[in-house]
Amino acid sequence: MSERSELDEHLGPKPSDLPLGVVVGGSLSTGLTVKIHPAFTVEKLAVGRYVVIRGRQTDRTFFGIITDIGLDATDADLARRPPMPDEDFSAEVLSGEIAYGTMHVSPMLMLDEDQDQPRPVKTIPGHFSAVFEASAKDVDRVFGTEDKTHFYVGTPLDMESVQVNLDLARFIERSAGVFGKSGTGKSFITRTVLAGIIRSGLASTLIFDMHNDYGWSVLDESGREYKGLRQLFPGGHVSVITLDEETSRARGSKVDGVLRVGYEQIQPEDVEMLGSFMGLSGVMIDALYYLSYKLGSKWISILLGDENEETTLQDLVDEGRILGATLSAIRRRFEFFRRMGFLVPGKGDDAVDEIFHRLNMGTSVVLEFGTYGNTMAAYVLVANYLTRRIHERYVRQKNLAAGGQGDEPRPLVIVIEEAHKFLDPQIAGHTIFGTIARELRKYSVTLLIVDQRPSGIDDEVMSQIGTRMTCLLDNEADIRAVFSGVSGAGALREVLARLDTQQQALIMGHAVPMPVVVRTRDYDTSLYASIGLAEGEELKKRAKKGSKTLYGD
């Protein structure tokens, strides 16, 4: 025999050759119960890890994820007469054999001997099938390799050598969500994924950047600096358009444009969304439609008292068209518009066309809110205003393309934060974001919603979310919400509630072959490099090489 096998014999089987345990029960819908082998201790397992189950009667291999870990005993009496703390020997004998560990495994994928692509499970392994810890090779096979449309976003827990690659084409095909408590890393994951999407060229992105997280550099708590998308793609694939030029300049952002919305461009539909933020009652909102119809395009300036049209307004009251009290209440609330520096009297610019044009050319747009990000109403107003109009153009373009009179528009991913403010059950039915989430990719527009309170989002919208990347959540309702419409993933709740507080996420859905808990990829120079950005030394080297070839010296 060879040297190797002698050595193997001497050392005993390698850890991964020994089964963790055997399947003793369960079902496809509720998952499998596995009795853990006495040689293993539950103390070394972790929920969220992968296991491989070799079918006992076939050559089929199943992949599963550990969703719960427990203790059991063959005899209920044991709990009444356990070994005392000093009875080490008894404890050692009993544990593993009649007092043993169990784990709950959700089967996810299966792989037949003659296939190389795993498929979703349709059955389960038989009784006493052996369960093994998945090796890096097993997991690697599931998540495939990184390429132009598969982007590396993190590594499975305890498997630093394995890359989890998001299938970006599938990711943008349906709306997606990033969830998690505050400070868990939502913005970092989102920025990472966006970098992947932009590099792949599969879609343009329109980012409503509430907290100035995406465009230019961001500092973390410890003062470390991270590059924004505009810096990662200096070649023009990303434009930053700001609402607050002063703040953007102060932050040192490179700005490609300033958004100005003219009062005359605002329609009652845009204001309606702000009802709850501005304290507009149902009656007032109805009145808005009437007022804009009556007063024409200058309706906002008139209501703000800038147009010398007091008599016109008084007439409406006198004719009984509107209550004086309602009118004054609306006018008081409209004072809000004056405080929004990006709103200007008059017709404003053609910002929408400009942005649509950029998006359609393949340039992603970061809309930086500056200090206006602290005003929810400003965020909701602008996001709605632009999205409604851009969506309209997409619909038009798509219809033209369908009629053979134009090109297909370039797919678009719209990123919104605090998404529950746009998608709560009361308004999701009639807002543009609810519409986009529901119509799927019919018009090549999908959402990437970032939210810390998914329970506030309409159920129907949630169930349309194709890919969910969820960081730690501890509120029961939020946890329930991220699993809504995901079949058989209920067992993953345990996994979710036990994520680390930062940089860990459960990814499930459309863009991954099976749910996976990852430590998200570090957002650092190696990521910059992987999307093609050369820095410092590297850049100098390249410059030198460039000049050599240019001047032949």
């Binding site: 005899d75 044991l78 009875e87 020997f89 008894s90 009993l94 009649i98």
Partner: protein
Amino acid sequence: MSEKAVLIARVTRCSTRSFVGASRLPEADVPTFGSFCKARAQRGQSEVIGLIYDIRIEDDEMARQIAIAADPSQEQLADNRVSRLIPIEISCLAVGYSSQDGYAYALPPQPPMTLDDVFALSRDEVMAFTQSMDFVPLVFSAPGLPADELLAACLRYSAEVRPQSEQRAFLVEAGRVCARQLAGDVARLDRLVRNLAP
């Protein structure tokens, strides 16, 4: 084999499940309750491995009379113990057999023959035989034996023949094998495991 095989008895009665050997006075340390022995079977093709579960000395009229005598002399006692032929009966449970292929942990195909020699198993043989614990179920399933005490004695003895450093691990493993058999009776298991504890 390094040690010389110690003859402890000759077979007087036997079945495939057990055999009884008789001998004169026992040596100081063999045989003992819970130790292993072996006897030829199948005309020497195999050896039955026995586990000693009972050692018995029958009384007779003479012994009874000496016992109740007012003051028996030392000579009388010694004479009775050494010179008289009172058989000592050693009962053994068949727990396996050896053949060319090594040990099998099952009842032997045939029992030993009457008056075959019964030898104690050497330390090396004990170690080899107890490499596997598959004989334990045979002990539990034998009717009418003090199985728990017998196993405790046998397993402790089997541990002692091993190097110091391996003894504990051996006993833990042995305990687990017993636990598997007694999974439904925690009270009994508890006693047995305490008896095994090093």
